[in-house]
Amino acid sequence: MTHAAARVAILLALLLICSRAFAADRQEKPAAAGTTALPPVEVSALRDPVEKSYRKIVRGMDLFEERRARLAPGASLRFKLLPRHRDTNMQGIALNIVSDRVNIPVPVAADNTFTMQRSAQALKEDAFVVPNRGARTMTWRTEIRTPGLPPNTRRLGDLRLECLVGMEADLISNVRDFLGQIIRSIRAPGYCDQREPHYLFFAERPLWSVTLVAGSRREVLSVDSLYAGITRDPMTPTDLQYCDCEVLLDRTYYAPLGDPSWPNDTLIHFEYMEDVPASGGTDAPVAAPGVQSR
């Protein structure tokens, strides 16, 4: 009898877990083809928001202050929200630091970046940072940029610090719920120091080519370092659900963060699938060796 009751309890627990997943998916499911599209509705309180721990984010901010002098001395730290679904409404996102006695609005810029203020009360109460969007509709990243770089470039030291702070702040969300948490806890220490960690960076537009330049040394990244590495490890549609890159796959790249032969001042040049005309106000991408452009 006791054994049977235990089995029933296990089954009920599984049922409960599944029901939660079912409910979350219902929140995010796009309108079926043929149905009338309704204007997006802002929900002020979601049952299952894509929230993050305030304490962890502050730990990331502390790490930024600790490492910035060596990796990115001229850079500032912002955080950024990115869509995970085609139908995620990225306009007018409201973000709050929330706990029992704290509710601090966090202004979100038009490009969906923001800074985080420090609050002793929020830290004490183990607050969460809560946007008015559902779970798995967005992902979070750090945005660490040295000012004055040429157009269509990033700096490797900035990316190294983005990875360190992002991991410390526990921003990534491309992991399966249970097993992923275990894997994440195992891989966290020193993860960004690996030769090419699978920390996804997102370019502004669909990528064609990424080139590292340090002095006279230039190297085009392999296609295996673009598009979340799907040429090396193809992803099924199910895999894609658990990837931060779910709808931004064509913008993703890995960087050789742990390769000490590339200095922090290495510039990473991007060329995009579609070139922006010069009249559009953006400089043409830097041509990389061995790359023909129409």
Binding site: M1, A4, A5, R7, V8, L11, L12, L14, L15, C18, S19, A21, F22, D25, R26, E28, K29, R86, R195, P206, W208, S209, R217, E219, V220, S222, V223, D224, S225, Y227, I230, T231, R232, P234, M235, P237, T238, L240, Q241, C245, E246, V247, L248, L249, D250, S261, W262, E271, M273, A288, G290, V291, Q292, S293, R294
Partner: protein, 136 residues
């Protein structure tokens, strides 16, 4: 009683599990097929493609079938690896052994083609096998 309850819960579990598996329809933002790219001699890629003119059929006829990434924005990327251009000698080999990545495909040179949504070649990229960092 216990058996009936067990059966009912099991049935509900199956129904809800099926719901979990099928509720969310994903339209992938990219599809890659097949899993391996073709290897070609580097000489074969010279003059194999004309930007703005070559079609997919032209490239297939010249270089053969290979790994293709189809993006939902209409662009396609075709990937060929060089059979005769890879790190494997001297200091380069030592570096690979240290990193444990001697057999990684990105140690090979590659020829990558971007097809525009029109079906014509928009860009190509020849990437030689990675060079060594300067000493000192």
């Amino acid at each position: 009683m216990t058996t009936a309850l067990h059966a009912t819960v099991s049935l509900l579990l199956i129904v809800f599990t099926a719901g979990c598996a099928t509720q969310r329809t994903i339209v992938p933002s990219a599809v890659v097929t097949p899993q391996r790219s073709a290897t070609v001699a580097i000489e074969r890629t010279k003059d194999a493609v004309v930007i703005g003119r070559s079609t997919k059929a032209d490239v297939r006829a010249r270089l053969g079938e290979t790994q293709v990434i189809r993006f939902d924005n209409g662009f396609e990327i075709w990937v060929y690896r060089f059979s005769n251009d890879r790190i494997g000698t001297g200091a380069a080999s030592r570096r690979d052994v240290r990193s444990g990545s001697e057999e990684r495909p990105d140690r090979h040179g590659e020829f990558v083609i971007l097809f525009a949504p029109s079906g014509l070649v928009a860009k190509t990229r020849t990437r030689p096998a990675p060079s060594l960092p300067p000493r000192g």
